[in-house]
Symmetry: C2
């Protein structure tokens, strides 16, 4: 399987490390052999080699800050555009791991359409194209007998999408509700120990959980992007970000947390999607709700089904290898679905 | 897909109800069409019709207690043996839903081997053949390009096996630990409210959670069968029931429960499997362990992985439709894996 990567930040590098470290195991257990043949980045350069790039050298160059550090090799091409790589006819899958833009999804969205037009499967960690143009991308993929997969966009490698699409395929899913942002859950968990919101946020920033500008997390927009993806994947329809009822945790005070605790409840930032719409809201949960017990930066989701009742999945919601694994799991699923065992 | 059912008790009937009620949805969403062409029971009779039995009539006859109540139809054969049905050449899948025997796994085990020899895929709710002869059955299935699937044997339709085999395929799973028996979890949950063991057991029996002879549940053997299956599916090896360290909840007193509670802990009957072996033991868990929050008859499992850390799945562990769904999910997986999309 020959891969083009758009973006090579933490997630792309985590994925490359997994391919490097698990190559023998993946070949032996799953007859899975993948090569990265092209990488496009905004700031580090671009590399292309139809016979496969050397992954250790690629990681070293990226960590050095420039693909100029990647050694010359027969067949190596530098400076190719994403479009030229997509249409060159060598790749099987476009792996989109560039940063999410929930307003335009560009330039990733154009690359995704070009890739499907050129006969490539799509695997995304970038939430933008899935959140904003799910229906068109999915229809185009289906028409061409290709797959679009996006496990990494919700709960990193914790297999939410595999669960919903494959394992629960024969069920009707009626709703999804979960804790889909680890930063805010970490802050709320710390506030339960008596910290103020500002203290907890500062600690989350120190630990690298929260960005210097934490608005995307604490105002609920990161979770909202995931709600859009879940709503479209589970229920279809043309929901937009502006249709969602989104608020974050910025208005939750230490007093609110204490009042909930006194009532035997706990505040969680609950993201939910139903066929009628979606929301992201700080919500008081009774302690016997499985979502109430989720502490720190862990994520969780409860899917309400017709035949199985509630199914809850708990796991990491972020992380280099955790998200890199999501991409691998999608590639394995593509292999399973395109080749009968 | 033409199905033979061995056994037609609660689970088999739940499965038939799902096929009856979801036929149109399954055909439309998954291009999945299944017919029950043969049913073998110990006490209700046997029915066979290569063009498919009428499911509503089959359910009505079963509920009336005898397949003699099933109306005559062109091509209908009564009284055929399981062996004759398997070798008749019409069926695609043997669905084994007869009661579990963890000592011999018979007669189900013989039927499973005959079915694989005859080119049929295997789907089991019966734990016996999987727990006792996993390696031979799996090797035979692989040699013949067939599949053996057994989602129903652990946590009913809650997709434990789909999670481990497909969604986590690229991870190494290092251990599994869970609450795999709903009856004992119900009893322990009730004891936390102040009931004695005997009172809680009596209530579980009244509600139909526990059998009149509750030994299989409360002494840990039901969970132990599931540990064997998990150990073999996840780690391979030739573990036997007698290799496991099994104790139940019969020695747990109200005083023990109160002492755990006072220490901020909770007793759970924890089933665990590692490459080195397995056990079923009443265990005190800290309240921040996701398994500690599992109340009533719910089941849960935590898989420890190399790339994703801990993944926990929570859901129903029993039930007519919940277990019937497991069989459907296995059939959908067989279809996915035998036909490229």
């Amino acid at each position: 399987m020959k891969l083009l990567l758009i973006g090579f930040g933490v997630v792309g590098q985590g994925f490359a490390e997994i391919l490097r470290d698990k190559a023998a195991e993946l070949q032996q257990k799953h007859n899975f052999v993948a090569e990265i043949i092209g990488v496009v980045t905004a700031s580090t350069g671009t590399l292309y080699r139809s016979n496969g790039l050397d992954i250790p050298a690629l990681l070293e160059a990226a960590q050095g800050g420039s693909f100029a550090l990647y050694p010359d090799q027969p067949g190596l091409r530098r400076g190719m555009t994403a479009g030229d790589m997509i249409t060159a006819g060598d790749a099987d899958v476009l792996v989109e791991v560039s940063p999410t833009d929930l307003e335009t999804a560009q330039p990733a969205l154009d690359y995704c359409h070009q890739a499907l037009d050129a006969g490539l499967h799509l695997v995304l960690a970038n939430k933008g194209p899935v959140a904003l143009d799910y229906a068109n991308l999915q229809a185009k993929a289906r028409d061409k007998g290709l797959q679009m997969r996006y496990e990494a966009t919700v709960m990193a490698g914790t297999p939410t999408m595999h669960l919903a699409e494959d394992a629960l395929a024969g069920c009707a899913i009626r709703s999804a509700r979960g804790i889909l942002n680890g930063t805010t859950n970490y802050i709320l968990t710390q506030m339960e120990t008596g910290m103020s919101y500002d203290e907890a946020l500062a600690q989350a920033q120190e630990l690298g959980y929260a960005e210097t500008d934490p608005a995307g997390d604490v105002e609920g927009w990161d979770a909202a992007g995931k709600v859009l993806i879940l709503a479209k994947a589970l229920f279809g329809g043309g929901l937009r970000l502006t249709d969602l009822d989104v608020s974050g945790i910025t208005a939750i005070s230490a007093t609110d947390i204490a009042a909930a605790k006194a009532a035997g409840q706990r505040y969680k930032l609950i993201a939910s999607a139903t066929p009628a719409g979606g929301s992201v809201k700080a919500t008081r949960l009774p302690l016997d709700d499985p979502l109430a017990s989720i502490g720190g930066s862990t994520n969780a989701i409860t899917l309400e089904t017709d035949l199985l009742g509630d199914i809850t999945l708990i796991g990491a919601g972020a992380g280099k290898l955790e998200t890199g694994y999501a991409l691998l799991s999608d590639l394995l699923a593509i292999q399973r679905r395109t080749s009968a065992t």
